[in-house]
Symmetry: C2
Subunit: 415 residues, 2 copies
């Protein structure tokens, strides 16, 4: 048995106990985690300082150093997150669709944990605790494989959580960290069949592609978002300008930010200058089709073919004039990543058609794509945003971390 | 573009139209399929005769020839299956959990098709029509890749279905067959990312393992069943004997048949002879632990280590005496495949504990494992039995062939 298989077996055994733990015990463990993180924040900050020193020495980009860094405020935020998860309803145990069959069998479908969840993510120590808390509440053991640059931080956070689990009389192995941060360990996790019930990659497009291409365990694909805002000819143009401004600039690095603006030819000449009046305030770079350039002039860089399929994650926006809703829907289904898509229109039938025909996790009428988020959707929390169609689509909360089991009560039935 | 990619793109385009087709149109297409299969049964039987002649020449096993063969009765059965699917409720379009958020956004979750489903299966022409009908009703385009020994039958069945689709004004490419039956085409289907939303292998353990190991597209793992019947010390022993007899012998080749009997030590001496009195009628071969042999004697072959993990699919039963429910649950979770597991007991707490702690798609009290089936569970039909925990677990009916889409109605909300 490899080290990873041993860890997988330990997690699987722990998951059997956690799966039948009651809500009070899981909440007790989460409260113990929250208290311990506060009580031991000195240890956490020391470990994080080691990671930060190494990061500076290695010349890590400032934005990545920012994501790596912890301080008292951030730890307080992490602890608050754990307490919010603690306050959410327990998703486990509900029985849906119970029915009595003609032969007298009573058949119900009970919500149960997935089992053991693997999470591969980048150097963000907050994810270590967020993900563990969500898995714990949903009755799943978790194997965390964080970015190597956050190793000391993660190691300390996981140690504190394991101690807290033990104090709440749950197995330490409900939460564990892959200690080997080489590429081989990531590949090992992707192939840990028999132990991992699902693997969730959280991070950039490269990480997600690598997991999808190499994993033999079931994967939930998250995150990549090439999102569109489509301004229909019957749009309230002022609303359209505010929505694209918000969708592009309120947080350009996230997956629900807009990357492409589509505008109907009938209103392009009126709308594009209005949108630009907003967008220029944040110095947004426009990459446009020839018609866009004809209207807005030299501020628009000619779009290259690849721009229509790129998640810029920055203050860059592709802009295209289209002939109407047919072309817009076809373009979105061809170039979008199935994440979040929005139409701005005052026309009832155009709105309904967009909702019907655009194939994405979240389809909006007259609102910013930025709302695709577990908290905004009322799920209370999220472990990521699924862009695949199997199992879960869109923001994944606690229920999306569950499976089901048929329970059958008989009185001797044979077939 | 490869031929398979071209086929994938055609299926994807067809799926966009099928996804928004209304129930009447889908039912019209299914009725047209049913009528056309009856009207053209001469063509079907001629094509099937070619496959059968080749199979005989190649010396195909008789049981496989039986599965390959069609006749008027079997075609009538296939047509009846299509009409049953037609009569089922349309799973698409229902909106669940619609809610108004504090910011005024109205957010709902709508049930939508998965998109394009791939099915890899063995030389069983009935699966060609069954699977296509289920996919059609659930709004999914399907790419079928059947066993090469059934190629002529499949080609004719698919041609008839495509003609019927066209007559119902739906795209022919809603249903298509992979024409290349080499291993390469199976591998190509497993890697048709960007076109296939999910791949379902239907067949033996070897096929399923190959798909799980090689596929880059999302897969639903089906079928392998090492199922147990556990006779608890408080069991009605007569009921236990009838249940293990039914679970083992009513159809030993299927995945919900029992492969292993566990019996509590306290009742083994009374129970095993009762069970054997039934099982010997079908000439069941017992492979037992030493205690089983001590009780039943020479009729029991000593079990080899691998027997506890084998889906015999035949009149063979592994038998083990256990010390109680602890050991039974531990053994089942270690050696079962998470398919169907049953306890026979009159003890309330033993029953509830078994339902809680056994990790399987279907867990039974006092009933045969043979009921794990879409029809028996009231789903109306099934495309297979999932033994994984993601997306769907247990029998998969029409709802399990769907995904969801968040629809969001706004009035200009930005974040």
């Amino acid at each position: 048995m490899t080290i990873l298989e041993t860890q997988g077996l330990a997690a699987k055994n722990a998951s059997r106990i956690l799966a039948v733990a009651d809500t009070a015990q899981k909440n007790g463990a989460l409260e113990a985690v929250a208290s311990a993180l506060l009580a031991r924040q000195g240890d956490i900050l020391s470990a994080n300082a080691m990671d930060l020193a190494a990061a500076r020495e290695a010349g890590m980009r400032q934005s990545l150093q920012d994501r790596l860094a912890l301080d008292e405020n951030r730890i307080a935020g992490i602890v608050e997150g754990v307490r919010q998860v603690c306050a959410l309803p327990d998703p486990i145990g509900a029985v849906t669709k119970m029915d009595k069959r003609p032969n007298g069998l009573i058949i119900g479908r009970r919500r149960v944990p997935l089992g053991v969840i693997g999470i591969i993510y980048e150097a963000r120590p907050n994810v270590t605790v967020d993900a563990a808390a969500l898995c714990l509440k949903s009755g799943n053991a978790v194997i965390l494989r964080g970015g190597k640059e956050a190793f000391h931080s993660n190691e300390m956070l996981v140690r504190i959580m394991r101690d807290a689990l033990e104090s709440a009389l749950l197995p330490r192995d409900c939460v564990s960290l892959v200690m080997d941060v080489s590429r081989e360990s990531a590949a090992g996790l992707m192939n840990l069949t028999g132990y991992l019930d699902v693997l969730i990659p959280r991070g950039g497009a490269g990480l997600i592609r690598s997991v999808v291409e190499n994993a033999r365990v079931p994967v939930i694909q998250t995150g990549v978002g090439v999102c569109h805002v489509y301004v229909h000819e019957k749009a309230d143009l002022q609303m359209g300008a505010e929505i694209i401004y918000n969708a592009k600039t309120s947080r350009p690095s996230v997956c629900n930010a807009a990357e492409c603006l589509l505008v109907d030819r009938a209103v392009a000449r009126d709308f594009l200058p209005m949108a630009w009046a907003f967008l220029k305030n944040k110095g947004v770079e426009l990459r446009g089709c020839p018609e866009t350039r004809a209207i807005l002039g030299e501020v628009v860089i000619p779009a290259a073919a690849g721009d229509w399929d790129t998640e810029f994650g920055d203050y860059i926006l592709a802009v295209k004039v289209v002939g109407g809703e047919d072309e817009a829907i076809h373009f979105i289904n061809a170039h979008g990543t199935g994440h979040s898509e929005s139409i701005v229109t005052a026309d009832y039938f155009a709105a309904q058609r967009f909702l019907d025909e655009v194939d994405a996790a979240a389809v909006y009428v007259n609102a910013s794509t930025r709302f695709t988020d577990g908290f905004e959707f009322g799920l209370g929390a999220e472990i990521g945003i699924s862009t695949q169609k199997m199992h879960a689509r869109g923001p994944m909360g606690l229920e999306e971390l569950t499976s089901s089991k048929y329970i059958v009560y008989g009185t001797g039935q044979i077939r």
